[in-house]
């Protein structure tokens, strides 16, 4: 063993390089995350659908807060407000006679829990003597390519009506102060009819795919009337998945593969080792020293 130092040095260099290559070659883990999607809000709208009840003021209170969040003044029969986005949580809805003091005892009130991304209609329903506030959970999902339609029967004069779409019955027997389930109907422009024992009302309604509608049957000044509401709308044909909207020109680029460099280091080490061993075998310590 006449060249222990050279041999040791070569071995050390090789091991160090191998270790370095290993450490540097470990790829950084790319962390991607998905987040749940909501703004923490839902929607509510308020309606007066009691035919013989005079106009009212409608108040929306966040639960436990005596200051109203929304006040609608002088809401008459047949009025449906637009939806309002509100923070999800517990609320109460109160009705007072139009013009009554905000601090007076409400004629009636009800509580409603608004869930995130859900929509609600709170309507005064029934005859004046049996007036009640009804909370409806409004649908916000549609079958692909179709529209959803439901009927609120708010005619007191025609206690029972049949509702048809282009002559085809969609709600056979809607009784006063009832709310039908949603019916899926093909997209198109249709003639809706409310048929009572003493009269008929018709209305042309355009149903786009991906939309949700409510038809309210009302007592008009001349018999039945139909109030057509578009409650919600989305893409009629929802795209599949997300969108391919980038080509990577501004993206961070990860390091290339360390393998070719590691192979080069390995080959070099082998070469150096071969040369070193050969030097040792031929016992040329003095010459090597002289040269170095």
């Amino acid at each position: 063993m006449r060249f222990p130092r050279i041999t040791r040095t070569i071995r050390r260099i090789t091991m160090l390089l191998a270790a370095t290559a290993l450490v540097l070659g470990v790829p950084a883990a790319a962390a991607a995350h998905a987040s749940s999607a909501t703004t923490g809000t839902g929607w509510i709208r308020l309606a007066h659908l009691s035919p013989n009840t005079p106009a009212v003021d409608v108040y929306l209170y966040s639960f436990g807060n005596s200051n109203a969040q929304i006040v609608l003044h002088h809401v008459a029969y047949g009025t449906v407000s637009p939806y309002e986005a509100v923070t999800a949580g517990d609320y109460s809805v109160a009705m007072r006679a139009a013009g009554a003091s905000a601090s007076s005892q409400p004629v009636l009130s009800t509580s409603v829990t608004i869930e995130v991304d859900h929509a609600y209609t709170v309507a005064g329903m029934g005859p004046e003597k049996g007036l009640r506030l009804q909370v409806m959970d409004d649908d916000l999902t549609t079958p692909t390519g179709k529209a959803l339609v439901r009927v609120i029967q708010a005619s007191l004069k025609q206690q029972t009506v049949k509702v048809t779409c282009d002559g085809k019955t969609i709600v056979p027997k809607a009784s006063f102060a009832s709310v039908s389930s949603y019916q899926a109907i093909s997209a198109g422009t249709w003639t809706m009819a409310a048929v009572g024992s003493g009269g008929t009302a018709t209305q042309s309604v355009t149903l786009a795919a991906g939309t949700v509608h409510t038809l309210v049957v009302l007592d008009g000044s001349n018999g039945l009337e139909i109030l057509s509401l578009e409650d919600a709308a989305g893409a009629g044909k929802p795209p599949l998945g997300g969108a391919a909207t980038g080509f990577g020109g501004t993206a961070p680029h990860g390091p290339g593969s360390p393998l070719p460099w590691a192979a080069l280091i390995g080959a070099g080490s082998l070469l150096a080792l071969t040369g070193g061993l050969r030097l040792r075998r031929h016992g040329l310590r003095s010459q090597l020293r002289a040269r170095v």
Partner: protein, 212 residues
Amino acid sequence: MAFRRPAAIIFAAGLVVVAAGTAGLLLTRHSTPAMRPVAAGVGALPAPTGPIVAPPQSAAPRPVAAPVSLTIPLIGVSTKLITLGLASDGSLQVPPITDTAVAGWYTGSPRPGAIGSAIIVGHIDTVHGPAVFYRLNELRKGDQVYVRRADGTLVKFLVTTVQTYLKDQFPTQTVYGPTPDAELRLITCGGTFDPATGHYVSNIVVYATEAS
């Protein structure tokens, strides 16, 4: 003597190769960082002017004109809007690679300002640099977005939230599904870019609602 010189040369050559390999390894370990984003507000545009039309009523929906341009003052976006449909695979069509400076409105979604969720899509980048929605993820709650329509009217939206979704977990119902008020969805790419597929793995979605 004849064997010594080659042995020394082999040893030296080996060391040179190791040194070269090490240098190569070290020099290529650095990632190329993402392009540095411009600070928020830099290059901000003035809000467009024109009649802003009030939110629609639930009853008797009023038809609104088709969208023609989009302005997002805070991040310097001012672009015409092209119309987009669906690609043959059922996914959302995107503006062509030859026109990455524009955004597009998906004609299968409600018109901006009408009841429902209007979908507008734009690229984050080209193969070389930023595209129209490069700075979309800088938007925050309350930021303003304007859409001008074919009849000259303007509709103003306020951002409610900005979300990043992995594309394989994209919440289509939340993004494309019906809403009972006038809303806007601005969609672009984000997250990690996968060079193997040539696509980003995530989408950024900006949610906005019509200002009342």
